[in-house]
Amino acid sequence: MTGLKLTNIKKSYGKTDVIHGVDLEVQKGEFIVFVGPSGCGKSTLLRMIAGLESITDGDLEISGERVNDLPAAMRGIAMVFQTYALYPHMTVYDNMAFGMRIAKADKAEIEKRVTDAADMLQLTPYLDRLPKALSGGQRQRVAIGRAIVRNPTVFLFDEPLSNLDAALRVATRIEIANLKEGLPDTTMVYVTHDQVEAMTLADRIVVLSAGLIEQVGTPLELYNKPANTFVAKFIGSPAMNISKAKLSKAGDSSVLALPNGNSFEVPISSAAGLEGQDLEWGVRPEDMLICQDNDTELLSGSVMFIESLGEVTLLHIDCGGEDSVVAKLPGIADVKKGDQISLTAPADKLHVFDNKGVSFLYL
């Protein structure tokens, strides 16, 4: 069943277009994460779903009903803000009860829902406190509690963890994952710029760039089969290395002619018309290997910089391209700065894109 549906959603501020037509269908109970660089429009899109920003064009449906013109409070949504947005003059209890009091709900019902939510989030001892007497993590839990009390059909999170310190962020992330399990029927939309949050929490990730959807898919789909170079570079850390080549032979598998003169066969099919054209190919740092005797060399260059993290070693290598190539080798690698190094990768780990950056898998 569809929980949330966006059809050609657009947003303009005067003459400036911010969202250029977004189509998205979210199943009921799904956990969707919007990721993208700053200014890509992910928060604007979320605020449009919430009803805090007007929708310039297109249709927004929640549970099958068009809600474009419905006031925010009547859309059946609840939102957790980055800055918590607690009412500073109200106790934790009053913060959570405010919405129901405005809706003139029954007193006993309010009490039941607030105490239930407080129980769930371990906030019961703090119900009489003011927000300023709480820690950051507790405040965020109150904000989540306030949203739970509204019993929403769609739960919205706007970068809820970015004001917390690293340790608390991990703990709260797990709490949000648990919350999702406890509310299987609630659709959740979560905005973040942190790909770890996106990968760990999402059922599906929506990658946005400059007001457009680049790709929608499960975390592993995005990792294994990025639709274009933008997604390829955005998902995964360090980012995928992208280099240039020519397609020397099309067919069920493609043969790349590398600038260093080598040919490399990749098990990805390509159309005959692409033969002889320029293309881009990518390989993730963690898929790179140091060349052994019979391996075909993909890239080579001198090591500029080494980051030893213990479990892995990151090598930054100058291969003559615009950006340095990064290789992530397991354990502690026996490499020194200035060493000449030649690299390869398993053929099935390569990603191939046409000269517009679209993956061969999606052509």
Binding site: G51, L52, A72, A73, F81, A85, L86, Y87, F98
Partner: protein
């Protein structure tokens, strides 16, 4: 022209005198407690003495004038209030006994209470409403400047402006007062507004409200802008309408500022004098304490004892509000 010259001369002399004092006294301190060319111990000792004397030296003039114009008058007023007409013979509390039996004092007290109830409430209320409304419209800043402008007019100047608005000419002649012109246009009899007992109090209060609303508006507008926008958005999502957001989310968050504005205006109101002096001089039952004090002290009365007694009453009324106001303002700053 002569006045301008003498004003310029006074100003430059004043500034030069200040510079000379601070520089000269510091120089003198260096001469008395030198630290160059001394033994290490002596230099350290002199430096320590000089730096403990310096703050007193620099604060000295301010403390001196504060004492002369603030502390001494308070003490002397207290003393005078127990003295007779000429301020020479001791009369005990008889000035106060007279005061509390005097019908004019009772009237002034009653009027002052009325001013106290109405003016701070009205100014703060209008200031808050205007601040909230002007934040939402594009021409809000122009509106704000216009509403703030009366703050720049002296109370006497404002009274003169309003004297024209309330001006009365007998029926039949051309009304030059705005209010009467309007009243006549509507087909009613013109009135001598400031001579109508009881209601004239309200007409005088309007002047002070007109002046103080701008002050309240500026402070409250800044406070409103300090409220995080997300709390309003959260309330929108919680289903609160405009009025509920205003009264349940915005106003409670700036309650401290409202209290400070309210008490600050209250103190101004307790001292209200110029408006009454210029408009009615206390006639037609519009007397207030400060104007009555002035009457007894310097004008018709010429009675130092009674004038001082009224001054003491005003001070006793102001002090608790002042203390509360300062505490509140300090609490506000600590919250930030």
């Amino acid at each position: 022209m002569d006045q301008i010259y003498s004003a310029l001369l006074t100003m430059s002399l004043g500034v030069a005198g200040c510079i000379l004092y601070f520089w000269g006294s510091n120089w003198l301190l260096g001469i008395i407690f030198p630290f160059r060319g001394q033994s290490h111990e002596q230099a350290a000792r002199n430096l320590r003495i000089a730096s403990s004397v310096r703050p007193w030296l620099f604060l000295g003039p301010a403390l001196f004038f504060l004492f002369l114009y603030l502390v001494y008058p308070v003490i002397d007023s207290l003393r005078l209030s127990f003295m007779g007409r000429s301020g020479e013979e001791f009369v005990g509390i008889s000035n106060y006994v007279w005061l509390f039996n005097d019908p004019e004092f009772q009237e002034s007290l009653k009027n002052n209470v009325l001013w106290l109830l109405i003016v701070p409430a009205a100014s703060t209320f209008f200031g808050l409403i205007i601040a909230a409304l002007t934040d939402r419209v594009s021409w809000g800043n122009i509106a704000k400047s216009l509403i703030f402008m009366p703050m720049a007019i002296s109370f006497i100047g404002a009274s003169i402006i309003w004297k024209f608005i309330y001006d009365y000419r007998p029926t039949g002649s051309d009304q030059i007062g705005l209010l009467n012109a309007f009243v006549e246009y509507l087909g009613f009899e013109p009135q001598a507004w400031i001579a109508v007992p009881f209601w004239n109090n309200l007409f005088l209060m309007i002047i002070l409200v007109w002046i103080q609303t701008g002050f309240a508006m500026v402070i409250l507008s800044a406070a409103l802008r300090g409220i995080p926008e997300e709390t309003v958005e959260a309330a929108v999502l919680d289903g609160a309408n405009g009025l509920q957001i205003f009264f349940k989310i915005l106003v409670p968050q700036i309650w401290g500022t409202i209290a400070v504005v309210w008490t600050t205006i209250t103190i101004t109101v307790l001292k209200v004098f110029d408006i009454v002096l210029a408009m009615t001089n206390g006639q037609w039952n519009s007397q207030v304490l400060a104007n009555m004090m002035f009457d007894w002290m310097f004008r018709g009365g010429g009675d130092f004892g009674r004038g001082a007694a009224i001054a003491v009453i005003i001070m006793v009324a102001v002090v608790p509000i002042m203390v509360w106001n300062i505490r509140n303002a300090q609490a506000q700053m600590e919250d930030r």
